[in-house]
């Protein structure tokens, strides 16, 4: 692993402790790892010249043109189009699952949210954070100031997963309460009723939001690589089941794959970007997905 990629490794990030540091390491590690980066030039760019009118700020006068032509021209720049990013972070109990014991889905999702927030705010996008389980548990309204990042990171750092998932309800609520369009980034394990999830996402899409879904899954959730007799206890429903995982593994994997395929197909059909994240993998896939989305919007 390159040194820069190291900062995208969730296990490494979990050792940092400070969420600000996590966000910075993740994003800077991400960018320094891109050579050449396809994402440069999002900052303010030159567009055209026009004649100077009284009242124009002198700092925009193109003095070089004036030197050549003795006429005052103002440099016109492409107008910055700030967008609002709404990060919806699932904080239900199921997100606390850590299959290999190294990093939980919640930690991974928090790092991702932090990194995205850092990235957005550094691009002067307004960023909002919504934590939810059965209902919205915490809402930080959108702001584009850099100092806003501190609040987001502090909230992420003190967030504890609890409660059951009611994703559909939260999405509907969010859709109804949010007036301004923007990029809705949903970070969740999507362990809820499929139809309800799709309805909620469709609601967002109907309101012209650009939606990115990051489904965070643990490696064990995807593969069920346990051995021996195990009593599984559901984190949310508290149901128990004793079994030899090996005997169920094949069917389990098949059913999980079907579930993920269905989500991917449905989101694809409705124009929603979908990214499945394995908590054992680095964060770069998520960041690439976000930046690609934003580029399309710009």
């Amino acid at each position: 692993m390159k040194d820069s990629r190291r900062y995208l490794d969730p296990v490494f990030l979990s050792t940092l402790g400070n969420m600000d540091l996590v966000a910075r390491c993740a994003v800077e590690g991400f960018f320094s790892g891109l050579h050449p980066s396809p994402f440069h030039g999002f900052s303010v760019e030159y567009s055209d010249h026009r004649e100077y009118h009284a009242g124009d700020e002198l700092k925009f006068v193109d003095w070089k043109v004036f030197g050549r032509s003795d006429k005052l021209y103002i440099k016109q720049f492409q107008q910055e189009t700030n967008t609002t990013a709404y990060i919806l972070l699932d904080s239900s109990k199921s997100m606390s699952f850590a299959g290999d014991g190294k990093i939980s889905k919640m930690d991974y999702a928090s790092f991702l949210a932090a990194a995205l927030s850092y990235l957005m705010l550094s691009q002067s996008d307004s960023t909002a954070l919504t934590l939810f389980a059965e209902t919205v548990t915490k809402y930080i309204p959108p702001h584009s100031k850099r100092t806003h990042l501190n609040m987001i990171l502090k909230t992420l750092q003190h967030n504890k997963p609890a409660g059951q998932t009611n994703l559909a309800g939260v999405l509907h609520t969010f859709a109804e309460t949010t007036k301004r369009r923007g990029i809705v980034i949903l970070i969740s394990d999507l362990l809820d009723d499929r139809d309800d999830i799709f309805k909620g996402l469709a609601h967002l899409k109907f309101l012209k939001h650009d939606v990115i879904v990051f489904q965070t899954m643990d490696h064990q959730e995807l593969n069920l690589d346990y051995e021996g007799l195990i009593q599984f206890e559901d984190l949310e429903s508290k149901q128990k089941m004793r079994t030899f995982p090996r005997s169920l593994r094949e069917g389990y994997r098949r059913r999980v794959a079907e579930f993920l395929d269905e989500i991917e197909k449905t989101t694809g059909n409705t124009g929603i970007d979908y990214c499945l994240l394995d908590t054992s993998q680095p964060l770069d896939r998520a960041l690439v997905a976000y930046l690609a989305k934003r580029k399309r919007l710009m």
Partner: protein
Amino acid sequence: MSFIEWIFLLGGLAVAGPLIAHLLAKPRFKRLPFTMLRFLQSGQVQSQSRRKLRDLLILLLRCAIIILIALLFARPILHLRSKPKQAKHLYSLGLDNSMSMAYSDGDTSLFDKLKDSAVDYVRVAEPDSLFNICALASGNWQEELSQDQALAEINALDVESTSATIADFLSGLRRANRVKHPDDTMSVFVLSDFTPITLHQFVRIADPAGMDEIDYKPMLSSKPVNNAAIVEAHVVSMAEGKLTISVAVVNYGAIPQERRLTAQAGSHESPPVNIRLLPNQREIYPVQMDIGDAGPETSFWPVELSLSEGDGLQADDTFYLAVSIPGQNDVNVLLVGESEHELFLLKTAMDTLSRMSTYNALRIRQISFDKVSASDLKWADVTVCSTITDRLGYVAPDLKDFINAGGKLICFTTEFIASGAIKQLWQQGVLAALPGKCVRGRTYIQPKPCDHHISGVDHTAAKSLSNYRIDKILLKGYLECEPHANSRCLWQLQNGSGFVYLKPLGKGRSIFVNTSADDSLGTFTKSNASVAFCQYLLGQDNQIDEHCFVRDERVILPLPDTAKQEFWVETCDGKKRRAAAADMSLLIPDPAGIGWVKTLGKPTLYAGINLPPGETDMTQPDVAELDNIMKRVFPANVERDVSSADVLGDKKPRPIWKVLAWAIILLLLIEPAVANRMRR
């Protein structure tokens, strides 16, 4: 099915173990929080039922293993219902083919008569009868023979040069009795001359063998018995080139014997000795033969003693006596002591021994320790030292050479011994034991020296020492000794301390005697046992040995010094066999007859093999007494042991332990594989 060791069936209760474990045991599992239970649950029902089935299968497998092991130990016998069959008649024939049966009274021998009687007996039996035939001389059984096979077996039977063994015959009968079908009839027919030696074996039978029918026929000569035999022979002396042998001859018959007795050894033959024996008379006759002066080396003589022809049995007219005559060498004895007085007793004892010897003379030279030199040791065959002084340390290498060359060193000791000399002698490997500190304890000599044969000492003399009440001889002290690794403690004191140690070294031997030749440690050499003790120490080289064995005896010959460990021997039947040497002895395999056993190659050793004494005693049995004996040994209509065979009626018992053993092995192989699969 029945069980021989039914008590082991209780072991089957051990199945309770796995059953209880199955019922009570909770499976060990790991608790894990999980999120996607709904994806697991749909496959769970099928998995659970399969797991329960597999658990049950493992339980059954383990229970089956335990039950099968219990069954195996109980030794089950499966009784297969066989086809109803007619009861058959089983005849057991005991045919005496011992050497006495070779007696012939003119036309035919007793053994020919026996075969005729046996053939007649077999021929009159029912055609579907079965026959067991035991040759009494060898004790070999031929079992379940058809009529034709039995006749062939009888015709093939021959006389063997040994006595009848009744114990083997009886044990075979009991075995046949145990396994026979309850409805079968078992008859026994004994054909023998019932010589006293055979009859005595019947008398000694304590456990009778019950039979349905018993018949016997004494094979006796119709005429008065005419038989004499040489039963014993011993060497009396060897002097002036003449070997004198005393020979015991017995008239076993009812006719007076006038025969001639001769001895022959190679080309040497004795003049015939006329013998006259009345019926049942035993007489000893001296036979003298000139074999010339003994040479320097030991010579082996196969002396064949024989009676002239004139009776009905030739085999007992010859007696085979192997004699080994040691080489005639004067023995040079070097007595080394502090002073002349110290060795006075020893010298006196040896002078006496020399005078007593009929064979070798002892030439004694007496010197003091200061004058011991290599030339003295070169002269000596035996060196006797009264103690260990510094001078012996100086000549330790010479002493080692002396022993290696075949000399014998005998060291007595006193409480004052030179430690430096001991160290040097010990380093050279000359000493049989390392003497330590002196114990002034009063102890007696243990009167039982080592029983087994040790070359280098005279065991006959050792036995005779007991006559001198040596256990009453009190020693004033002794040395604590540590024997050498190659040494043997031949004799102990009563407190367990070593008294005489012997160590072979090269061709010679070193003997360490834990007492003094004077009065410092012991009084042994002052006692009247000193002469016999000297003879014990000097060895048995001057003794004439006889190597004469009985047919059934184990043949062991003492070996002279040789590095050979394996010999080829020619046995009495003229065949070559391999014999192994162990502990200075040669173990001869079965001599296969009577006559000579000899080693092939050097050294040539002989062993004479003779008939068991009394085998050809043809004294005819008293008919009434014989009848009583046979009725006692073979009681009719005696209830047999209730064994499994009786209980089973017409079922054929078949032990099934092999099947069980294979089943257990198979299950033990399957069990781990199944259990391992279950854990997945």
